[in-house]
Amino acid sequence: MEMTGKSVNNVEVVFLNGRLDAYNSNLVEGKFNEIIDSGKVQIVADLSGVDYISSSGLRVMLSSLKKLNKMGGTLKLSCLQHYVLEVFEIAGFTQLFQIYDSDKEAIASF
């Protein structure tokens, strides 16, 4: 799982690359926690490099969203591949997350 990040206007953008399966999801959770611990609560996850997401992946996204919401922040998603978007739709997660076509739109929405 490749993870890189950048800060734009107080928003932390995280690029995820790889399969969001049980193993990688734990890594992503660690990365999100790291960002949250450093005091940043506005996160955009760029999922353009994610071609698979399992229920563990959904779990990590949801728990991170809940955690951030409690702290007055949020997790927004951008650039979802077709399959991943479908999984989000089936799980009803499109109602929980704000999803954008590009990082730019996601960052501008804060």
């Binding site: 563990s56 779990r59 949801l62 728990s63 089936i90 009803g92 997660f93 929980l96």
Partner: protein, 455 residues
């Protein structure tokens, strides 16, 4: 060292080797390990006293006579006995060796006998001072050197004439100390090895017992979980029903259920808890019980699931959630009213059009958030219609090339085999999934429920 000392020394080392062989054989005795584990029963103490007393006597006999004095490893037996068995054992072995030495006579017989007795006693005191544990290799070697030095001093003080005693001590001092120190080193080395060996074995046994217990617990969890799945398939007039759940591990997070609501209404449900293992299994049991309690004799669907969702969110179940499809089948007007909370849409094969309809209502998984609205839909089940409910273990089964079985594959399979009996169709799908995976281990639970209205 002069030539006499060298022959003396090699001679003594040979004797030490004999003692080591005896000691090795001893160490394989259960009494030896029992004493090392601190089981100082009277029987064990007596056996130890006799054995190390005998070793001490052998030390005397194997000694080499020099100007009327005997260079020997007589003290070694009582020292080892005391260091691992305490003062009683050390003193006992020392008395045997010492009294025997007394009978051999010679002008140094009093100091030599006395030092053998004291060697056992001092070793026993060291054992007590070290909290009834063996002092370790280097402590034991140091003790043997000090003890033999003391032995020589006793000889100088107690033996007369002094000039003769001094001559003996001059010759014996180095070889006696070396021989006893080497003997003690090898003995101590063997003892510490044995102690380590026992500890490793103990830890291994403990680990083994823990593993066994875990396995047993998993088996019990598996049995408990199976008891949460329906034991029988209910009879619904004009309908046929088949269902199976195959967990990927001993316990799983999938479930299905049939809930009696009224004479003509039956609740059908299938669910999948996020995660695996015991936490998922417990959450599954909780969700399934909660749903059953709320749904029994409650013809509502959307509102009822909303209340289940709120209830799950009341409890801080960390970040677990459950995907759930729940429908109430009315076998009188042949309608299915359902809610889909984030579950893979069940596939309804229409007999008339041969089309597949996916049953979804856009609901969010249960446990994600409180207060979510759950829309319900109602659909007609016409004669010959076939409904397949499944969990993602079916569509997300992967083969060696990491390709997924996929929903399309499942749809084609249903269309091709729609005229099979429900039980056969269910088995056909499971077989096909296993064939597709061709040996790739099952990563997720596989659950299937097939319903058909008689044509």
């Amino acid at each position: 060292m002069d030539p006499l000392s060298i022959t003396l020394f090699t001679d003594l080392v040979e004797k030490v080797c004999v003692i080591i062989v005896i000691a090795y054989l001893l160490s394989r005795f259960k009494y030896f390990t029992e004493v090392l584990e601190g089981k100082l029963t009277i029987k064990n103490q007596i056996i130890f006293i006799l054995i190390f007393g005998a070793i001490s006597i052998y030390g005397s006999y194997s000694g080499v006579n020099i100007f009327g004095a005997i260079a020997n490893v007589r003290d070694l037996g009582p020292m080892v006995a005391g260091l691992i068995g305490g003062p009683v054992v050390g003193l006992g072995a020392g008395l045997i060796g010492g009294l025997h030495r007394l009978t051999m006579g010679g002008f140094t017989c009093v100091p030599c006998s006395l030092s053998t007795v004291l060697a056992g006693l001092f070793a026993g005191i060291i054992y007590l001072a070290n909290k009834k544990r063996f002092i370790g290799i280097w402590g034991a070697v140091l003790f043997s050197i000090l003890m033999e030095t003391f032995h020589m001093m006793l000889a100088l003080i107690l033996a007369s004439p002094f000039a003769q005693a001094l001559a003996v001590v001059e010759n014996l001092f180095v070889p006696m100390i070396l021989a006893n120190a080497v003997g003690m080193f090898i003995f101590a080395f063997m003892i510490t090895n044995l102690i380590k060996e026992r500890q490793t074995k103990k830890e291994r046994d403990k680990l083994h017992a823990q593993l066994e217990r875990k396995k047993k617990e998993l088996e019990i969890a598996h049995q408990i979980q199976e008891s949460f799945l329906p034991h029988t398939i209910p009879y619904i007039e004009n309908y046929q029903l088949a269902a199976s759940s195959i967990p990927a591990q001993e316990v799983g997070g999938d479930f299905y259920d049939f809930i009696p609501i009224s004479g003509k209404q039956t609740g059908l449900t299938i669910g999948d808890v996020s995660g695996k293992g015991i936490p998922a299994a417990l959450f599954m049991a909780f969700s399934r019980t909660l749903l059953r309690a709320k749904a029994c004799r409650n013809p509502g669907v959307g509102r009822m699931i909303e209340s289940v969702n709120n209830f799950i969110n009341e409890e801080p179940h960390s970040d677990m959630f459950v995907t759930l499809f729940y429908g109430v089948l009315d076998d009188e007007n042949n309608k299915l009213t359902f809610v889909n909370a984030g579950h893979n849409p069940p596939l309804l094969w229409k007999n008339e059009t041969k089309d597949i309809i996916k049953l979804s209502t856009g609901g969010v998984v249960l446990g994600a958030m409180k207060g979510l609205k759950m829309d319900e839909k109602t659909i007609n089940i016409d004669p010959g219609d076939l409904l397949v409910l499944y969990t993602d273990g079916v569509t997300e089964a992967v083969n060696k090339q990491e390709a997924q079985f996929g929903e399309e594959h499942l749809i084609k399979l249903i269309q091709k085999n729609h005229n099979l009996q429900v039980e056969d169709l269910k088995n056909k799908i499971i077989d096909e999934v296993y064939d597709f995976a061709s040996g790739t281990p099952q990563a997720d639970d596989i659950t299937l429920l097939v319903l058909r209205r008689n044509g």
